[in-house]
Symmetry: D3
Subunit: 160 residues, 6 copies
Amino acid sequence: MSELTHFNTAGDAHMVDISAKADTDRTAVTEGFIEMSAATLQRVMNGDNKKGDVLGIARIAGIMASKKTADLVPLCHPLPITHVDIKLEPDTQNNLIACQTTVTTLGKTGVEMEALNATQVALLTIYDMCKAVDRGMTIQGVRLLEKKGGKSGHWKREEP
Amino acid sequence: MSELTHFNTAGDAHMVDISAKADTDRTAVTEGFIEMSAATLQRVMNGDNKKGDVLGIARIAGIMASKKTADLVPLCHPLPITHVDIKLEPDTQNNLIACQTTVTTLGKTGVEMEALNATQVALLTIYDMCKAVDRGMTIQGVRLLEKKGGKSGHWKREEP
Amino acid sequence: MSELTHFNTAGDAHMVDISAKADTDRTAVTEGFIEMSAATLQRVMNGDNKKGDVLGIARIAGIMASKKTADLVPLCHPLPITHVDIKLEPDTQNNLIACQTTVTTLGKTGVEMEALNATQVALLTIYDMCKAVDRGMTIQGVRLLEKKGGKSGHWKREEP
Amino acid sequence: MSELTHFNTAGDAHMVDISAKADTDRTAVTEGFIEMSAATLQRVMNGDNKKGDVLGIARIAGIMASKKTADLVPLCHPLPITHVDIKLEPDTQNNLIACQTTVTTLGKTGVEMEALNATQVALLTIYDMCKAVDRGMTIQGVRLLEKKGGKSGHWKREEP
Amino acid sequence: MSELTHFNTAGDAHMVDISAKADTDRTAVTEGFIEMSAATLQRVMNGDNKKGDVLGIARIAGIMASKKTADLVPLCHPLPITHVDIKLEPDTQNNLIACQTTVTTLGKTGVEMEALNATQVALLTIYDMCKAVDRGMTIQGVRLLEKKGGKSGHWKREEP
Amino acid sequence: MSELTHFNTAGDAHMVDISAKADTDRTAVTEGFIEMSAATLQRVMNGDNKKGDVLGIARIAGIMASKKTADLVPLCHPLPITHVDIKLEPDTQNNLIACQTTVTTLGKTGVEMEALNATQVALLTIYDMCKAVDRGMTIQGVRLLEKKGGKSGHWKREEP
């Protein structure tokens, strides 16, 4: 049965030793959502053409955050990210904005943490920009969708 | 009808001018959850007494993250935080760990963003430490519960 | 004759003592330019409505950089900025983009450095986004236009 | 005709995918200037032997800033810099200090941004240290001089 | 008997609540040493006049580090430092360099951590710059000498 | 006789050129101590099982600090660390806590600075958490124990 690898045999936290792992191409895809009132969502959508580009700013915040993941998550290895793409899609059916993030690197460990962090910070930035009109917004469903590369190979979330 | 205040009249983003606001005592309380398998939750709970203290590390990560909020969220004002407290409670009924964060400051603007960010990073750190055994964990329900101080006064989320 | 205040009487650098200074309202206005080819400027202007919003991203980069000034400039005091506004105006006459930044705080020292740094990083971000098509772009004329607050009072650059 | 590569086909900003690019030796050389009054320049030059070493401190600030470039410029890839050298030369003919920066790495993308950022921060630090005696100083001519490595090969600015 | 205040009644770490404390003038003075071979010390001293100014660079590193203390020490409050002064004195009798740091602020909590951190980073920077010739250098005696301000008043280390 | 390599032939600081060095496995082991009163040490030891886990928090602080070394030490190269392990052992004989840190990477230069910095910040965090009950604590004996990898090969401190 596999262990929580972030602790050594004494039970103390350490940064896991990845020295002996090969550099392979790594990709992680994550998603998350921010629920808001219909009125707030409408404002965000109206602002899309340069009269208050909430989604453009959230995207930049997410991309920049991906580069700080090892600064925020204590036992995370620093990684030279080679690609970040963040999609932010308003969904008027469900009164939410969906965020999907893809991160890649060539490295010794995966980029799930970078993709999850980028997703969270993009959604948090939407919260920040809309909070004056809607304090009740809620961030939901932040999770890994797919992961490629490394010893564990290809993992994909089963539907639903 | 109130505006998205993070944009000036030209529709361009700016850091909102708070120069004229008074320093008042501010508090924000936020919550969030991370859902995981029963087996993963059990491991986290077993580790509680120094054989792999996942929650202790997540708490530290959240506290440290609260201090970097203005670094992550583009239009957020830098604020000298005066108190951070993060509660992490395992819930074996629902197979999740609940996070509740309280942040206070004496300042010209609120600390919701600091509390939400601390909550997200604490939960993300749990994800990091358990991901080797459970990739499917999901972060849910990150939201503001209560807010005191400033012109808008006391706000409390109504029970659903 | 006034001294270079960043050195003590032994000639060693120090962070100047501002403990005894009063908190006053401070404003600094700075400007700077990036010269580019007419074709590059046209691309930037075409992109303005969400098909590649170079100026929107540069503005965010500048605002975020203003918060890191004390991290970059060794003897700069950390300051809680209360307002940042960055104007970026294409000028097809002179084939350049002009940047004008206003920063305010309530504090013991001025915000010139924050405004100059924001201006430089906004222009540098334009360089980054356009460098694939125009390596020769040049940043020019980064300077203080106006400064209010503090013992030295109101200073304004004389024309031209 | 080449595109602004920092936007995907939807016009949204992304961090460009460099996963498939080879690691090659990269060098970038940049320059920039800070103009000041003759009296200010004289003070800086007098301080050169440890009674207020403005240029030594500016050099350190520039070197340190080169390591933070990906933190400041939103779509910039993080890169492990292998060498930074900054020359700062007073020019009493033209009442300015010239800065020339060389940065190298072995990587998938170039180091122009790192060299330009180091140049800007070195000059900004000179501004900071001399601003008490000369508010009118102006940063000029920050630009790329030469670039080696990568698919685009050797580029050199044509005179003048 | 006084408690370890960084833990709440449940034994969990928190950032101590200082909201109700008054802003008072605070000063901390700390010291530390780096022992090295006589030959290494001689090199450092020879370099003093701009042919390799080890001490000037260490001083800047210490000042900059003081501003990052809350970033490094998990439960440390962020504080707006108003003054930092670092003295570095070679001692050929004992083959060491002594570092003494003074930090001040006007705030709700003390600046011991800022002064200790500045001292440690200044000494660590000397190690970095001399390690190619002397790997055996040792940092010793990093401690608080004096502390003023706040509820606990004036504290001074008793000799020796 | 070897030179202080952090200065070029003009005596100016630079980040040493390591472009031509090969990537090799690197390990550094460092140690350091914090002396405290017997009563303080007893409190730290009592807290070990989740009623105030000083050592667990210090360990996390040290690991996180290792990732910021190039941010703190001006001429230090950024390095992708692959492993960090920090041992913190109370010693009731000598009234101190001993810290031993091991850092590894695959890179062009060594990881002594990362290990020394992690050691210092771990000890500083213990100071922070205990300072309310013992201001006199002193950090001692921070030094390199062993170093492997690179052109200089294996180095080990001679006893005592």
